[in-house]
């Protein structure tokens, strides 16, 4: 008996059940997809904890898929016992594989919502999949970065630390009052409410370079306030130094004009 004949006989015997089973499967899958999508958007309106919402939706999706597969199998005429046993076996096997191989799987060094610098991009992580990571940079672009590239690259995760250090490096001219400049820069940092008292702000003389005396202000702020505080401190430093009459240095070059003693040049007319 050929294969087509066997399929024909099967369809003659169990055709309506198989068609119903297929219908249940297709409609069920579409429904599951729709329900999970609606639930996800509804939960995201209530909370901004993307990871938690994602976990909840994924768990619900797995449960609903199991229900759909069992229903489809029952429609096809299978007994419920073996179907449930099979699904239980598959679930346990999947969990076992995950538990067993979890330590061996490379994990991305960030979570959704973290601000990271990876693959020469600085932005917020929006989603991660097995293959790639969706990152939104601060100029509004969305990048899909392959996880392979991230795992091979240096990643800076700005969410791992609560505080960050701000560097305010300025150069003043050699004829300026160094102590006055140091005091002023320290005062500017200390008086800002966002600058943490501990570790206390410090001003160092970093270098006596060719063009200037380099001063380095160092202070610590809470991570989310880093960028704005840095910009504000720079602005206040510039204006504060201007008000105090302290002149910033600029690139300069001393040009020495050399006048050689006049000597008679070669007589070209004789040549």
């Amino acid at each position: 008996m050929s294969r087509f004949q066997r399929i024909g006989e099967l369809m003659a015997e169990r055709g309506p059940e198989l068609v119903m089973s297929l219908l249940v499967l297709v409609i069920g899958l579409v429904l599951v997809r729709w329900i999970v999508r609606v639930l996800r958007s509804a939960l995201l309106k209530v909370t901004n904890r993307v990871t938690l919402v994602s976990i909840a939706c994924n768990i619900l999706m797995v449960l609903l898929l199991a229900v759909v597969f069992v229903s489809a199998s029952l429609e096809a005429g299978l007994k419920p016992g073996p179907v449930i046993s099979f699904l239980t076996f598959v679930s346990l096997a999947a969990v076992g594989v995950i538990v067993l191989f979890r330590p061996l799987l490379p994990t991305l060094p960030f979570k959704v919502g973290n601000v990271v610098k990876a693959a020469d991009l600085l932005g917020r992580i929006e989603a991660t999949t097995i293959l790639n990571t969706r990152m939104k940079t601060f100029d509004g672009k969305t990048f899909f970065v392959p996880n392979r590239k991230i795992l091979d690259d240096i990643v800076i995760n700005y969410h791992f630390t609560q505080t960050r250090r701000i560097k305010i490096d300025v150069g003043i001219r050699y004829d300026q009052d160094l102590m006055k400049a140091k005091r002023l820069l320290e005062e500017i940092m200390v008086s800002d409410p966002r600058v943490r008292a501990k570790p206390a702000p410090v001003v160092y003389v970093l270098n006596l370079s060719r063009d200037c005396v380099e001063l380095g202000g160092r202070c610590w702020v809470d991570n989310p306030k880093y960028w704005v505080t840095r910009c504000d401190l720079l602005e206040k430093t510039k204006l504060g130094f201007d008000n105090a009459g302290l002149a910033f240095a600029f690139r300069q070059l001393d040009v020495h004009h050399y006048n050689p003693p006049s000597e008679p040049g070669p007589d070209f007319e004789d040549a």
Partner: protein, 102 residues
């Protein structure tokens, strides 16, 4: 004196670190001049004097009037105060600036 004691003296006696800034102004309400703060007391103040002064200037630009006297909706004597309600010097001029003094 221990170093820690000295540091405590410096913390309390040297440059004060305000907890927040507010913009203070006066305006006409039903013919009477009333003084108000923004953000109002009870709400968290602005944590940046740069932002506070910019905010004060924008309020001035948005409500100024060339007419004599104080007009309805006009904000006058706009300046920045700290959490202790003391006037704050403008970081840009190192002076107790005030927008729209009347």
């Amino acid at each position: 004196m221990e170093i820690t004691e000295g540091l405590k003296i410096i913390d309390t006696g040297w440059v004060q670190k305000p907890k927040g800034f507010r913009v203070k102004y006066r305006k006409l309400v039903e013919g009477q001049l009333v003084t108000e703060l923004s953000p109002p007391e009870g709400k968290a103040g602005l944590d940046s004097d740069v932002v506070a002064w910019r905010y004060a200037w924008k309020l001035y630009m948005a409500t100024r009037s060339d007419a004599d006297g104080i007009q309805d909706g006009e904000l006058v004597n706009i300046h920045v105060v700290n959490d202790a309600a003391e006037r704050v010097k403008c970081y840009a001029t190192n002076d107790f600036d005030e927008f729209n003094p009347k």
